[in-house]
């Protein structure tokens, strides 16, 4: 069995590298999209709010695979080309951004109204208030659910294998197709996902405990 593991590991690690790259890029993309949608939703502008609601409800109500398929094949259908990696980043960012928007919205709305009022009287603009007063206060509120969403995103990258991207899950499938031994190979794939997600999960728990103590 050790020989099997040793021979499969380089291919799986190569897949893990792509999974990590895809995850980091999609985490950045989904965070920016989510934050933008949350700002629009809490802006008080009716049209902006409607756009944000439509976005969050639409993508929270559809499976991630449909979003990925729609982007990859949909763009091709209209005569444009998109590579697998870009489609994966775009699909995961748009899909997870809808959930992250709700995390940020809850954080923004948890900041007392009095913070906005005192900032207004002191002469701070809405943007200055958001950046310097509200956003820093949401950090402690949104961090645990945000990291939870990131963990979900990292695991969701395995679905990108369905459109043919050679990330960790896809590489595992390829090895199983070639030599069999699904229990060992998928066990190894699971361990690699766990090795990425577990420290992140422990870190947020540690951070939460520290915040509560301080």
């Amino acid at each position: 069995m050790s020989e099997l593991i040793i021979s499969a590991l380089p291919t799986l690690l190569q897949g893990l590298g792509i999974t990590l790259l895809l995850s980091v890029a999609a985490i950045i993309g989904s965070t920016l999209l989510g934050l933008l949608a949350a700002v629009l939703r809490t802006s008080g502008l009716p049209v902006a709010k409607q756009i944000a609601v439509l976005y969050t409800e639409l993508f929270r109500g559809t499976p991630v695979l449909i979003t990925l398929m729609f982007i990859y094949f949909g763009i091709a259908y209209f005569g444009y080309e998109i590579n697998l990696f870009a489609a994966g980043i775009l699909g995961l960012s748009i899909y997870q951004g809808a959930y992250i928007a709700e995390v940020f919205r809850a954080g923004i709305e948890a900041v007392p109204k009095g913070q906005w009022e005192v900032s207004w009287i002191l002469g701070l603009s809405k943007r200055q208030t958001f950046m310097n007063v509200v956003l820093p206060q949401t950090r402690g509120i949104v961090l645990p659910p945000l990291v939870g969403q990131y963990l979900s995103l990292i695991k969701d990258t395995s679905i990108v294998s369905m459109i043919g991207m050679s990330e960790l899950m896809h590489q595992g499938q390829a090895i199983v197709d070639r030599i069999g031994q699904p229990v060992v190979i998928y066990g190894l794939v699971s361990l690699l996902y766990f090795a990425v997600c577990f420290p992140l999960s422990r870190w947020v728990q540690h951070h939460q405990t520290r915040s509560q103590l301080s």
């Binding site: 009022e117 005192v118 900032s119 207004w120 002469g123 007063v133």
Partner: protein, 245 residues
């Protein structure tokens, strides 16, 4: 005669079907300390919030520091020219005392950090908290937090200060330190509008006391007139209830 610092002319305000202000007219002179008293729900906090631009009136005219607050487009001109102290302090919890005081100076007034710190420390000195400048709100007592909030409001050099039940959330033994800061501001000639349940403050520090009842000004006068010889039966009833305790 100097132009009033604040002028309210037939101001009305409703929340849903409840009319909380019924054609209120009121002037405040520069340097005057005006204290608004009245039972909960009488409309005194709404008057203060309208004067500070936090609430829009439904009708009437509001002039504060020559800014017509009833004109929506011009209401923002008041920002940075008035100070407001809230019942719940509303300090920024992620900033130190000095950080709270200097944020608006740096971001809104575009002062350099050094200049803002200098002015911020002077404001904290004024409320007796210079040595706590690097403490976060959670590390300060309620009274100290409220004094930081006063310093933050003073640092922008406002022409008028509003106090909305500034001592109501404090333990009784912490009320005195905040009251003393407010009294010293009054002595310095700051125009102040104060909503309070502290009748001692109203009696000793106010130039004029306004008693509000069910959205109207039921009676107003000097502290002597209101506390010693109130004319309106509702004022008499309110004061006898409040002064009993």
């Amino acid at each position: 005669m100097s132009k009033p610092a604040i002028m309210l002319n037939n101001v009305t305000k409703s929340f849903g079907s409840t009319q909380v202000l019924k054609e209120i007219s009121l002037d405040v002179s520069p340097g005057e300390v005006l204290v608004l008293i009245g039972a909960s729900g009488s409309g005194k906090s709404t008057v203060l919030r309208i004067m500070s631009g936090l609430e829009k009136s439904d009708g009437g005219e509001i002039w504060v520091n020559n800014v017509p607050l009833h004109e929506n487009k011009r209401a923002r001109e008041i920002c940075g020219h008035v100070g407001m102290v809230f019942q719940q302090f509303n300090l920024f919890p992620h900033k130190t005392a000095l950080g709270n005081v200097t944020l608006a100076l740096i971001k809104a007034q575009k002062l350099s950090v050094a200049e803002a710190n200098k002015r911020g420390m002077a404001a904290l000195e004024r409320v007796g908290l210079a040595e706590r400048s690097h403490h976060y709100p959670a590390q300060l007592s309620g009274g100290q937090q409220q004094r930081v909030a006063i310093a933050r409001a003073l640092a922008v050099e406002p022409k008028i200060m509003f106090f909305d039940e500034a001592t109501s959330a404090l333990d009784p033994e912490l009320v005195g330190e905040v009251m003393e800061v407010m009294r010293s501001l009054a002595r310095e000639g700051m125009t102040m509008v104060v909503v309070t349940h502290e009748m001692g403050f109203a009696r000793k520090t106010a130039d004029r006391v306004v008693f509000m009842d069910q959205g109207i000004i039921a009676e107003q006068g000097t502290p002597e007139q209101i506390f010693v010889n109130p004319q309106n039966p509702r004022t008499q009833q309110f004061l006898s209830r409040v002064l009993e305790h």
